[in-house]
């Protein structure tokens, strides 16, 4: 009898728990993204490094003609860049595809992995298809949703690494728990572009939690360009005058793009590689220049855009206004 009562209590508790959980899910207006990882990406050599997010395509009409596929792609890219991949800027991808003859976004779906690899020179691509969009406000019901299929394809093998087909939905209505939320959500939902962007954002946040992140794999391999030394002709407490020339010599890794800056006041003044690993450049102080205690900072940048920086600390660039008169 005692056990029977205990069992009955447990059963009631279980039912209540299931009810609460279901209730929560329904009210949340959003299910979690079901991402299917097709290939085990645990081995470092398997993980793609460079990734291009191809133009997303659109299957049907969109509310108020908002280009949801573009909006979603940009939003997805912004969140995807947090993960440990080297992502190619969207403009670069579009430029390369157009240069290769792509006139409409849909054409990209027909490109073979080999062709895409030739055009984009990346390890993997992400393809996205917006299958359905909705934005509805009426009565006590408001809903914005985006249904899309997104997949990552390894261009080295042609295999699909992961894929998902998900519908992200933000809505309120009779199932919303409070009157205020219904009103507020309806007000938000009327702004179509904003509502669609918010939905795309929640879709992106959800999917990013599931996409395999190789950040740990690449972290060990990171190395910034090395600057061994930086020399300038600046002397302690020296005041510069117009037409004075600041010389900068920098010694470091060879074959890189060298530049120097004067504090944050002026940057990217080019340095020329006069011999392997030796960079040299100068700046002539102008009449209009006014600098108060700026440190000279040398920069060497590699092809991946990573920069090594080093400050020259034995002298500061100082051009006082009084020296101009």
């Amino acid at each position: 009898m005692k056990y029977w009562l205990a069992g009955k209590q447990n059963s009631l508790l279980q039912k209540l728990t299931i009810f609460i959980v279901s209730f929560g899910i329904v009210f949340g207006g959003c299910g979690t993204v079901d991402l299917k990882v097709r290939k085990n990406l645990d081995h470092p050599n398997i993980h793609p490094n460079t990734v291009a997010i191809l133009p997303f395509t659109l299957a049907g009409p969109t509310p108020e003609g908002v280009p949801v596929h573009r909006l979603f792609r940009e939003c997805f890219f912004n969140y995807f860049s947090y993960l440990g991949y080297v992502d190619v800027p969207l403009e670069t991808i579009d430029y390369k595809l157009q240069a290769a003859g792509m006139k409409k976004y849909k054409e990209v779906l027909g490109f073979s992995p080999e062709k895409l690899r030739d055009i984009l020179a990346v390890d993997a691509v992400i393809k996205g298809r917006v299958l359905e969009t909705n934005n509805f406000t009426g009565g006590i019901h408001a809903e914005t949703s985006i249904k899309a299929k997104i997949e990552m394809i390894d261009l080295r093998t042609g295999e699909t690494l992961w894929e998902t087909e998900h519908k992200e939905r933000i809505y309120s209505g009779i199932l919303s728990p409070t009157v205020v939320e219904i009103i507020q959500d309806q007000m938000d939902n009327v702004k179509v572009h904003q509502a669609l962007y918010k939905t795309a954002e929640m879709f992106s946040i959800g999917i990013m939690m599931k996409i395999p992140d190789p950040a740990e794999v690449w972290q060990k391999e990171i190395r910034l360009p090395e600057i061994k030394s930086i020399e300038t002709n600046l002397k302690p407490n020296q005041k510069l005058k117009p037409n004075d020339r600041i010389y900068v010599n920098l010694k470091g890794d060879a074959g890189l793009k060298g530049s120097f800056g004067i504090g944050s006041w002026k940057s990217n003044i080019p340095l020329r590689e006069i011999s392997p690993g030796m960079y040299s450049g100068s700046y002539i102080v102008q009449e209009s220049d006014e600098i108060s205690s700026a440190l000279i900072v040398g920069t060497l940048k590699n092809a991946q855009g990573l920069a090594g920086k080093r400050f020259y600390k034995h002298g500061m660039a100082v051009i006082e206004k009084s020296s101009l008169n």
Partner: protein, 416 residues
Amino acid sequence: MALSVSACATDLQTRVAGNLTALSKNQTVAILPVETSDPGQKEMAKMFRQGLYANLKQSKFHLLERYVIDGLLKQNKLTDPSTLLAINPMQFGEILGVDAIVFSRINKVERSYFVLHSSIELSVSVQMVDTRSGEILWRAEQTEQDFSGIGKIPTGITTALFAPIQFVTNKFNLSRMTSNMVDKLTVLVKHPNEADRENQFEKPVIAKNATNELKKIEDLQQLKAEWQEAMILDEEAELSDSSENLESNKESLVEITTKPDSNSVKKNIMQARSLVQERKRVESEMPPLSPKKEAKIPVPINLSQATTVEPIAVIESKEARPITRSHVGTSAKQLTSRKTQLYTIQVGAYKTKAHARKLEQSLKRKGYDVFITRNGKNIYRVQVDRFESKEDAIKLAHRIQIKEKLKNFVTRFSGV
């Protein structure tokens, strides 16, 4: 009424610097790991950093990849986000190779549940600092509150009970709130041109760490400038000494070693020592910007005279021969009394004797035969060893330069 009671509250204070507009795609910004005030806020910290990334991707500067930042911080053993704010921004400039950094901290993540009412309160602080100048480009503090319960007029008795539970337990709400928070927080930094006057710093604000660092550099440069001046005076004095010597052809050399026998001199030395202590503290506190360790001894500023110089009016001895190490112990007077021209290596010249002493002691500990002389202009010269052969002196001078990283030159030994 319902709306006024229930609309989620935002308290946002944000300011940008005029120089923020100067950041472009050519400048790189790093969003550092987010500091938390409680271990339970890690998930929120991750969401917040991700949100910052996604939002600042729309700004006009370039963001350094998150895995690059974390990898480089790990390589430099900077894995605790709570220690990052204490580090000088310039150091981050060299560690990460970026032009600006974003520090952020989760101040509060509070979920409250009171049967018919529940609430979530989030509070964050963010600061963007230019690594090249230490200037604060953007500073913001934001508190976001949202709740569910009777204040929002439940649609029924069931929802009155369950809405508060659902609100605080649903992960989606925290995620949504964080996302909304970052959206509002980053509006100004994405469009700094649109900032009202009240949202702009009146004048450039430099981060405290950077101010300290720049002050130290300036102090050090001031000191070096003084040394440089002293060095020039020393050379001038040497020139005049040698010409006087040539003219009068004096056989004995004047002993000019300082003897702090008077009280006033002692007092001066005490003052100078305290100055040295202060300078030393400044130097040792300066964060190492590169793994290579600098020599800790004060470096005399004779950079432009780094190469060896020709001694003026050298009287070559017919018996000139190198003084071997066994001569090191020979008394200076004995040496000078031989009337042969001797050479020594000058490694420093200071107006303050304490500075000279510091260098002298440092080199003595390393086994050098080092001594201090004072010239007619009251400049304390730190010199190493004596040689009959100039070549031998040059050899040791090179060794000192390489081994001790001390710029020096060979000069005539004028006695101690």
